[in-house]
Symmetry: C2
Subunit: 84 residues, 2 copies
């Protein structure tokens, strides 16, 4: 799946709810999911880890949608000018 396809999917699934919730609450949700990911990594199964990785990706995409920014553009920097 293309990164932008995934972002567009998040827009279709959650865009309206995202905009209603607003950016600060979305950041809070993202933090919540990162915590769940950290817990799954520490003491969860691979299935739980996979689930949380997906949730974190989804919330990053939701946030990018609300900011009007493209995750493809964000990812592209790692192709052209990766940090050392």
């Amino acid at each position: 799946m293309q990164i932008d396809e995934f972002q567009q999917l998040m827009e279709r699934l959650y865009g309206e709810a995202d905009r209603e919730r607003g950016v600060p609450a979305t950041v809070a949700w993202l933090c919540e999911e990162v915590g769940e990911l950290a817990q799954a990594v520490r003491k969860g199964t691979p299935e739980q880890q996979l689930h949380e990785l997906g949730d974190v990706l989804a919330w990053v995409a939701s946030l990018a949608n609300q900011l009007g920014l493209s995750l493809e553009d964000a990812a592209e920097r790692y192709v052209t000018d990766p940090p050392t």
Copy 2:
């Protein structure tokens, strides 16, 4: 860019350093970057927000690599069985 292409790119660029650092330190880095993203969202420019979105994506991919998990698989759940 495909999600798995991006993950493979992270493996090529950072896989060795990632494995040397280990999973807990990678989770700590991810949390650091999420904090930078939250700050950029709160008071940064769109360019800074884009930069931090990329960093968070990169660290999620690094973590997935170390866990031996596929971000494509993680994303796929949102195609087949998205949370409501």
